[in-house]
């Protein structure tokens, strides 16, 4: 057995590394989007791809989100594995019809005759002073779309392995990258290609008195909150990173709820019909007899995303700590 080498890298570098591994392994993997070519993407997620693989395989497109996704679908139907970049998730809505009506439904409506093995990568979330249109978390729209998978990594190791799984997946995958974490920390990441299976949660911190469900940029926030509560009152808080929102690992979620009995869900996205509502409903439908407190949701507000006051909009450690304590003290 060879010793696997590792490199310390940021989340965005891990995305880049995953793309390179996939493109080296499979000629049908293509990268397309606005500014993904020689510039390497506005966040440098595609840095060096055009240089290594040529413009045939990593190319700039016209500024047209529905065009990027629309042609990506066609390429995917015809033997390619396109990885489309939408520069900010906030700009994805012109392509909503192509994603929801075409990519997500192609296998179903053609009885399996045509399929769309495509990945849509896009940075999402706040905390970078991006205001209304560079900060949103739109996962709920897409989780409500049968036929589409929705994946959100929270650290460099997961980003590389989950993106590899998304590229290998036979169905369309929306890969939401927490841009607030793009360069926030570094982590040892294996140089080899590896896959982290979709639809598997990760337990970030184990515990048995309360479980916090989170994903993406809220994972470090929740981790810090759990540690703080442990320090302040010795409570044993479990933090579960959902990683894949659709299809959700419901069994693991329910096991955690049953084992812990108290639940807090955390996301940046607005509360109403947000992903926390789904977790809360799962708990109510399938595990209410285990609940020792009402499910608490810590979320963004049901407003557009503000700029100057963004840190009052987004859940932070203190808000998560408060929710945990309320649930513990119920």
């Amino acid at each position: 057995m060879t010793t696997a080498t590792k490199t310390k890298m940021t989340l965005v570098q891990a995305v880049n590394d995953s793309l390179k591994c996939a493109m080296r392994a499979d000629d049908s993997v293509l990268v397309l989007g606005e500014d993904v070519g020689p510039k390497g993407g506005v966040f440098l997620a595609t840095d060096g791809l055009t240089a290594e693989f040529g413009e045939e395989r990593c190319f700039d497109t016209p500024l047209s989100e529905d065009g990027i996704i629309g042609v990506g679908i066609g390429m995917a139907m015809n033997g390619m594995k396109p990885v489309c970049e939408i520069q900010f998730q906030d700009f994805i809505f012109p392509a909503f019809d192509q994603i929801v009506s075409e990519a997500a439904k192609m296998r179903y409506r053609s009885g399996g005759q045509y399929t769309v093995p495509m990945v849509i990568r896009t940075p999402y979330g706040g905390g970078i002073r991006g205001g209304l249109y560079h900060s949103q978390s739109g996962e709920a729209y897409f989780c409500h779309t049968p036929g589409l998978k929705v994946v959100v990594p929270s650290n460099p190791y997961d980003a590389k392995g989950l993106l590899a799984a998304a590229i290998a997946d036979p169905d369309p995958v929306l890969f939401l990258e927490p841009k607030a974490l793009y360069r926030s920390s570094k982590m040892e990441v294996p140089d080899e290609e590896y896959i982290i299976p979709l639809s598997k949660v990760a337990t970030v911190i184990d515990g048995d008195e309360l479980v916090v469900f989170c994903y993406g940029a809220m994972v470090p926030v929740c981790t810090k909150a759990a540690e703080r509560v442990k320090e302040s009152r010795g409570a044993s808080i479990r933090v579960v990173d959902l990683r894949t929102l659709m299809p959700l690992d419901e069994e693991a979620v329910l096991d955690a709820i049953r084992e812990c009995g108290r639940v807090v869900t955390v996301h940046e996205a607005p509360r109403f019909c947000g992903f926390g509502a789904e977790i809360s409903a799962l708990a109510a439908e399938h595990a209410i007899e285990y609940l020792e407190a009402p499910v608490k949701r810590v979320t963004g507000f049901d407003t557009p995303f503000p700029n100057t006051l963004e840190h009052y909009y987004m859940p932070d450690t203190r808000r998560v700590v408060d929710a945990i304590e309320e649930a513990l003290d119920f």
Binding site: P62, G79, D97, P170, D171
Partner: protein
């Protein structure tokens, strides 16, 4: 506007050099389409199917364009009003009727409304979507994949006059102009988007001229003249196949029926306009030419019409007699591998309905 046969069937241009066997196939596809229409209308009016899309009047656009393709390597990303493209390439009327009824043999497994066909054989025919113009960028992507692999296939995408107002048309044309992908854009200008006339879609002097903004040549043909359509599309296909890039073709025609079986065009089209276009009928015109050329013999045309009337009637009866898809098909094909939550919903669904005595057996099937 390119024209080879005038409305009376007189030759006014040079006919394309095409095998008479192919010419006959075009005619047969047009007649088959009209007979399919006739049967579909009867089925809808008698409540046996819920919906159809009439093709009457536009058959030459679809048949002429389809004939320019090589089924072994080309793709069709069609408009929904393009039945003759499928019939020309040998899709079986039975497959189409199975879709009309959404029965267990329907390729779409009963999931779509009627006429939302999907085929992989004998030609790759992109599954039809109801939102308009979406197939245009998809077609360009299919063509870009061919281009990247160095293949010489071509994608024909068709759409109506109304679809030229969609973002899909704009995005697809723009991408194709930039990438020079091997695509032929065929605008079936049948002059109405349901009830809205072309003046409400565009202030352009034609649809063909829109190509100019994308660096794509535009050509306008008489869409009721199947030879002219074939000629224009064949030239565009050959050019695309040889790396010459995309072409936009506007085929001027007229929808002689409603938008769908739920629409009554008499509410918004003057009878005199209908009469004027009836005199330009694409099948009648082609028949005059074929009989004059000796490609059809006296009596042949009537025989072909009777043949397809019988074929469509039988196909509809067979389709009507088939069982509905099993309940399983509500859930399958959402993803390649069924996730746990869908398995749970499927199991519940089958158990629930099989216990309600609604002709559902314990496997979730609908035995006849």
């Amino acid at each position: 506007m390119i024209q080879i046969l005038d409305p009376k069937g007189n030759q006014v241009g040079t006919p394309p050099n095409v095998d008479p066997k192919v010419v006959i196939r075009m005619y047969r596809a047009m007649v088959a389409t009209r007979q399919f229409d006739d049967r579909a209308m009867k089925l809808q009016r008698t409540g046996k199917v819920g919906f159809s899309i009439p093709n009457e009047g536009i058959e030459a656009v679809s048949a002429g364009a389809a004939a320019a393709l090589d089924a072994s390597k080309d793709w069709i990303a069609p408009h929904y009003r393009d039945f003759a493209m499928a019939l020309f390439h040998g899709v079986k009327p039975q497959e189409m009727m199975d879709n009309m009824f959404g029965n267990q043999d329907d390729h779409a497994r009963g999931r779509q409304m009627p006429v939302h066909f999907t085929f992989t054989e004998p030609i790759r025919w992109l599954s039809i979507s109801s939102p308009l113009g979406t197939q245009v960028p998809n077609a360009v992507g299919i063509a870009m994949a061919m281009q990247k692999r160095g293949e010489d296939g071509v994608v024909l995408t068709s759409f109506g006059d109304g679809s030229t107002s969609t973002s899909g048309f704009h995005s697809g044309m723009n991408f194709a102009g930039v990438t020079q992908a091997p695509v032929v854009f065929l605008c079936q200008n049948n002059q109405y988007a349901i009830s809205c006339p072309v003046e409400k879609q565009t202030a352009s002097s034609s649809f063909a001229i829109k190509g100019e903004a994308y660096g794509i040549p535009g050509v306008k043909v008489d869409g009721n003249d199947v030879l002219a359509v074939y000629d224009a599309v064949k030239k565009a296909v050959d050019r695309a196949r040889n790396g010459g890039g995309p072409t936009l073709i506007e085929a001027l025609t007229f929808r002689m029926g409603g938008h769908s079986t739920s629409d009554d065009p008499r509410r918004y089209i003057e009878a005199s306009v209908m009469d004027e276009w009836a005199a330009k009928d694409p099948i009648a015109r082609f028949r005059v030419y074929l009989e004059r050329e000796g490609i059809l013999h006296p009596g042949d045309a009537d025989d072909i019409q009777e043949e397809f009337a019988a074929v469509m009637k039988e196909a509809s009866e067979v389709a009507e007699g088939k069982a509905r898809p099993a309940l399983e098909t509500i859930f399958s094909d959402t993803f390649k591998d069924m996730p746990e939550h869908l398995k749970a919903q499927r199991d519940w669904c089958i158990s629930h309905y099989s216990s309600r005595d609604e002709s559902v057996n314990e496997k979730g099937e609908f035995p006849l």
